[in-house]
């Protein structure tokens, strides 16, 4: 019981401090969560327009651990199918523990139009378990994304998650599904160095400003450095490793109050 109370206390603190980042939405593999305009990396439940830029099919899984508490972890999975006409993905995410957990499944479609812009939409079904009623409640909502490439160096991305502010209502409570507006840019200083910047706004929370650099040091190794501000200034770092068709991304961020948040994602890219 004591453990449960501690968990609830920490979970509520986390949700107060990071209200714009819902636990059920996995953190992106881009540094500081700057994925909305990042044309090079794809992540589960991020801007669906980015699916359009995938040239190969791929599968990936990731684990995010918050502050060394297994109960606050999010696990997710993504399978991406690339075709000539349209790219599609199936994503799944799980957060929580036995008495409280949330799940989300998404079916996304994205297409790249003449390499000038890409559009995407994902249909997400969110489900939460309510121990009070010993039942699951769910809701369907879309996620819409757009990315335009003004040149080979500069692109702009926009994404909205749950734009219609769909919520789950039970007899006892209302579970709010986050509604997020994101706008970001990507700029390549050189083929090796990219600068990403992003602003997010969860409709009932504060703004989140994030920026970061990703540097492809070697063909197999990339380094990432960034920072975001959402009430507290949080530094972020990470690296990417490439081995044959495997990609491994490891990111971490140091919250000044709560400690270390770590992320690891593994992807396998199929040949065309």
């Amino acid at each position: 019981m004591k453990k449960m109370l501690c968990l609830l206390l920490i979970a509520s603190t986390v949700s107060q401090i990071f209200p714009q980042i819902s636990s059920i939405i996995p953190v992106s593999s881009s540094i500081a969560g700057t994925s909305v305009a990042n044309t090079g990396l794809r992540s589960e439940f991020q801007n669906p327009a980015m699916l359009g830029y995938a040239k190969n099919s791929e599968i990936g899984m990731q684990h995010e651990n918050r502050y060394a508490l297994s109960e606050l972890s999010t696990n997710s999975f993504q399978a991406l199918l690339s075709t000539n006409a349209i790219n599609a993905d199936l994503s799944f995410s799980y957060f929580g523990y036995s008495l409280y957990h949330e799940m989300m499944t998404g079916l996304g479609f994205g297409r790249n139009f003449s390499d000038k812009f890409a559009l995407g939409v994902r249909f997400n079904y969110y489900m939460a378990y309510f121990s009070a009623s010993n039942s699951y409640r769910g809701a369907l909502f879309p996620q819409i994304g757009l990315s335009y490439r003004f040149s080979s160096l500069f692109s702009l991305g926009f994404s909205t998650f749950n734009p219609f502010q769909t919520n789950i209502k039970t007899d006892f409570t209302q579970k709010r599904i986050p509604s997020i507006f994101s706008l970001g840019t990507e700029y390549y200083f050189s083929p090796e160095l990219v600068w990403l910047a992003q602003i997010d706004r969860e409709i009932s929370s504060n703004y989140r400003l994030a920026t970061g650099f990703e540097y492809q040091m070697l063909q197999q190794v990339s380094l990432k450095l960034g920072v975001y501000d959402a009430g507290y200034l949080v530094p972020c770092g990470g690296c990417g490793l490439k081995w044959n068709r495997f990609l491994l991304d490891i990111n971490c961020e140091l919250h000044p109050l709560l400690g270390l948040n770590s992320y690891a994602g593994l992807r396998y890219i199929f040949s065309r």
Partner: protein
């Protein structure tokens, strides 16, 4: 849930649609873009229907640049006086144009201006001759259009709900709407070239009854007939019409040229008598008028109007005119058509190539006296049954300098003056300066000139504007306006002064990509309530706003991304409050189907009313929305245009605003909606025959 699925399926279909192709910008979109820029910094949206109809008519009857006049070119409201003069100077210097590409050689016209001009101009060597009007031609070649529009909110407003307290209480009955929540209007338009124009408009606002106890039919009826170039008559108008003369100090019932990001366009244009075809229920004349061409470049206009207006009459007098046109409750119905207003006026002008001058006179008469309830701010407002106003206007063109102005007096000899110039010292630089003085006692019914407020009185000020093209693809526009109110105004309980600055940079990378940054600073006086003061204290309200907008098109897709933020300080030591909005537009025009879709998602965050934000959104034909946002929430809409065949075109729009600031009701009084959502549905059908 069904709505979400339908919207998402539409988006999904959109993604699956054909690859991008070059899409031509439609006239609708061009007109809407011009209007958006023109009204972007205005809190009062001018009459879009009139604006749209005039430019649409111009697109159907384009100006032949080789045989044009200043008056004709001035109909393109997005061109400045300097640009109009430059076009005329080019034609005078080099003779008729060979083709439309020569527009690029004219000083002061950038690619954006030329692109906007293209739908409204043509180049032809031969001059169109004014033919006789034959009945056969009118009947066989005239164009007819019929419009039917429906609009309503999905949620039920308080005014449509039965009130328990109103049962058996006759005094409370008046607070409830007598009609249904549907808005409906029907319009019929006829035109034969640009010679004969006729039309009728019927309208019922939401809440007004239709074939009920209050009305036997529509609430509002309007009709007009305009004939152009008939013998000595330049224009004849019968039915409902509008009149505009000079700089608007005496007579301007049309839209005004106020402060906007078209910084040079502060000079009033578009003079004369013209039809009224809007659904506005106040701002027009009902009767007849004519403009006659006289020898030696003289021209004269006369008109007479007799119509019933709305007012709350008590004891044979009324305190104010009720202008909204709403007749939804017993109280509003009791004000309907209670006063007879007669207006007679005229103008005589002398027009040469370099000089234009004229005199305007207007007499207004009511059958009952207007007696405003006297307070400090309205001490000098007009009071009585009859009013006379007269003015003299001029315009002189010399080299690269244009001088213009108007001086006017009311019957009791209180003056108003507006005078200014436009100058183009270099081809890349255009300047404008306007001085205005409207005495506190100058209060006339149809004045609409450059002003900080909607009322043309009790103000003096100096407006300076500049437009510079420092490099190819770049344009800088700026204005500075300093003004003073010598007597208290509504909401300002002391003589006061204010400032207003705008700075905008436009970058047009190419035809498909353009963007702008707009900064505006205003320092306006306003009453501010303070805890330690019984009376409100007049203090400066400072507002800084910054807007970035990016327009990008690729094939059949076009995108618009915009973000705007502002910060407001009420009084010197007060804290700043902030507002922010951002939106993403996506438009797709199908190649294989006559279908066009617009989708927007927008969020806004402006907790304080002072930080309210405005953002233009696409709408059905003839409708133009610049909704105001404050609070926290999001808005999205889907706008659809489908051409069923050559005769029928359909527009449909559904828009929803969802507030996320835990509010449990929206609006107040009879307009109140319980909940945090408001949904608006519009439907318009056009039939051409």
């Amino acid at each position: 849930m069904k709505r979400i699925v339908v919207l998402c399926c539409l988006l999904f279909l959109l993604i699956n649609a054909a690859y991008a192709q070059d899409a031509s910008t439609t006239i609708d979109q061009t007109i809407a873009d011009i209007f958006e820029q023109w009204s972007a910094e205005s809190e009062e949206v001018p009459d879009y229907q009139t604006f749209y109809e005039e430019l649409e008519f111009l697109a159907e009857n384009p100006i032949n640049l080789n045989h044009t006049s200043r008056e004709e070119l001035s109909k393109m409201l997005f061109l400045s006086d300097v640009q109009v003069e430059n076009i005329l100077a080019y034609l005078y210097q080099y003779g008729p144009m060979e083709n439309i590409y020569e527009l690029q050689l004219i000083d002061g016209l950038d690619m954006t201006d030329i692109r906007r001009m293209l739908p409204f101009v043509m180049v032809k060597k031969e001059k169109a001759v004014s033919e006789k009007i034959y009945r056969y031609d009118v009947l066989n070649y005239g164009k007819n259009e019929l419009y039917m529009m429906f609009n309503r909110d999905a949620e039920t407003r308080q005014g449509y709900q039965a009130s328990v307290s109103s049962i058996g209480d006759s005094t409370n009955q008046g607070k409830k709407y007598v009609g249904s929540p549907w808005y409906h209007s029907a319009k019929y338009r006829f035109h034969f070239k640009d010679r004969i124009l006729a039309g009728m408009t019927f309208e019922k606002d939401a809440g007004e009854s239709f074939f009920g106890s209050a009305h036997k039919g529509y609430d509002s009826y309007s009709g007009y007939l305009q004939i152009n170039r008939l013998g000595i008559f330049k224009t004849i108008v019968l039915g409902d019409f509008r009149a505009n003369f000079g700089q608007g100090l005496v007579m301007k019932s049309d839209f005004s040229m106020g402060k906007s990001s078209y910084v040079l366009n502060v000079v009033s244009r578009n003079e004369g008598l013209k039809k009224f075809s809007s659904t506005d229920e106040y701002n027009f004349f009902r009767g007849g008028g004519a403009t006659i061409r006289l020898p030696r470049n003289w021209e004269t206009s006369v008109f007479y109007s007799n119509k019933m207006i709305d007012a709350d009459t008590v004891g044979g007098v009324f305190s104010s005119i009720y202008k909204t046109g709403y007749h939804r409750t017993e109280n509003e119905l009791n004000k309907k058509h209670t006063i007879c207003q007669q207006v007679a006026g005229g103008n005589i002008s002398w027009r040469l190539l370099w000089l234009q001058t004229g005199i305007t006179f207007v007499h207004t008469n009511f059958d009952q006296a207007l007696v405003p309830e006297k307070t400090t701010y309205n001490r000098f407002y007009f009071s009585g049954k009859a009013q006379n106003t007269a003015g003299w206007n001029y315009r002189v063109h010399w080299q690269k300098l244009n001088l213009f102005g108007e001086a006017a007096v009311t019957g009791n000899f209180h003056p108003a003056l507006l005078s200014g110039f436009t100058l183009s010292p270099l081809s890349l630089v255009n300047l404008v300066a306007v001085y205005r003085y409207y005495s506190p006692e100058y209060d006339t019914f149809y004045a609409l000139a450059l002003s900080e407020t909607s009322r043309t009185n009790n103000e003096s000020g100096l407006y300076l504007g500049a437009e510079i093209n420092p490099a190819k693809k770049w344009k800088i526009s700026a204005y500075a306006d300093s003004y003073r109110f010598p007597w208290p105004k509504y909401g300002i309980d002391a003589p006061s002064a204010g400032k207003d600055y705008l700075f905008q940079t436009d970058f047009s990378a190419h035809r498909r990509l353009s963007m702008f940054w707009r900064f505006r600073h205003s320092n306006k006086p306003a009453n501010i309530s303070q805890e330690n003061s019984v009376m409100p204290v007049v203090k400066a309200v400072k507002k800084n706003s910054l807007r970035y907008q990016l327009m990008y098109s690729q094939g059949n897709f076009s995108f618009r991304t915009a973000a705007e933020g502002n910060m407001v300080q009420k009084g010197e030591n007060a804290d700043y409050t902030y507002g922010l909005t951002a939106y993403q537009d996506l438009t797709y025009e199908f190649s294989s189907l006559p279908l066009k879709l617009d989708f927007r998602y927008q969020f806004f965050d402006a907790v304080a009313y002072e930080n309210r934000l405005y953002a233009y959104e696409k709408d059905v034909l003839y409708a133009f929305s610049i909704p105001m946002y404050y609070g926290i929430g999001s808005r999205y809409y889907l706008n659809l245009k489908y051409e069923l065949n050559r005769q029928f075109t359909l527009w449909f729009k559904i828009a929803q605003t969802v507030y996320a600031d835990d509010r449990e009701e929206i609006s107040s009084g009879n307009e109140k909606i319980l909940g945090n959502k408001i949904t608006d549905v519009k439907f318009l059908l056009r039939f051409n025959f």
